[in-house]
Point group: C2
Chain length 137, copies 2
């Protein structure tokens, strides 16, 4: 999660993500929607795309996604399609909603509807992630 | 929808999408997950990214998304973030589920949870879209 927070800070956005296997961080990415004029360029999507392209496969089984903010349903679904093992996130969608518009669908609500179940852990370094929202939103 | 079906056929996939405003088709795109090693490269995401990049903005208000298959929650959320006006689709997620794994979350289930409401019309040229699933899956 430390890597996800650092890449968010470096890009002056609340949104950072990292994908790791074991102790090794393979990729990090920040939100780039405005810079790229791409409404899909959330941090998690950018990280998944970067790693899948690097590995030349769409299946990211074995990887854990760390993200400063709970994945929106776009990013959660992308993680499901990529079959990541686990997602650790900082602040929750209701908490992010205090700062900006959100789709009110929690990651777990999608997980239970899915053909592939992801292990989800919330509130990881939450205070630091909320600080990012306060600082950069 | 005719353009979405044609781009799907041309790429030998059941999944095609088009974005239009009024009578003008601005972009078409097909699923390219395997070719690009990108689990997010669904037809709708590809079309949204292509148009947003072309227009140099993330807000696609005024556009209608046509897609051969009901958007999965990743694509539906991308359409919401892009603030498209409407989505017309052919076959439904329960129908696609007969051919392949799906996340069991309907587009309307996300729409009602959203800060931006999209007009949704289903079963547009449905038989032709189901033929695509039969032929290319």
């Amino acid at each position: 999660m430390r890597a996800a927070i650092e890449v968010a800070k470096a890009n002056r956005t609340p949104f950072g993500a990292a994908l790791s296997m074991g102790d090794e961080i393979f990729v990090t990415a920040a939100n780039h929607t405005k810079e790229l004029s791409d409404p899909t360029a959330h941090a998690e999507i950018m990280a998944i795309r970067k790693l899948a392209e690097h590995l030349k496969k769409t299946n990211l089984s074995g990887f854990t996604l760390y993200t400063t903010c709970e994945p929106c349903p776009m990013c959660m679904s992308a993680a499901i399609w990529a079959k990541v093992d686990a997602i650790f996130y900082g602040c929750t969608i209701p908490e992010i909603s205090l700062f900006m518009d959100q789709i009110d669908m929690r990651a777990e609500d999608l997980n239970i509807k899915s053909f592939h179940r992801v292990t989800i852990l919330d509130s990881v370094l939450k205070d630091e992630c909320i600080n990012l929202l306060n600082k950069f939103h």
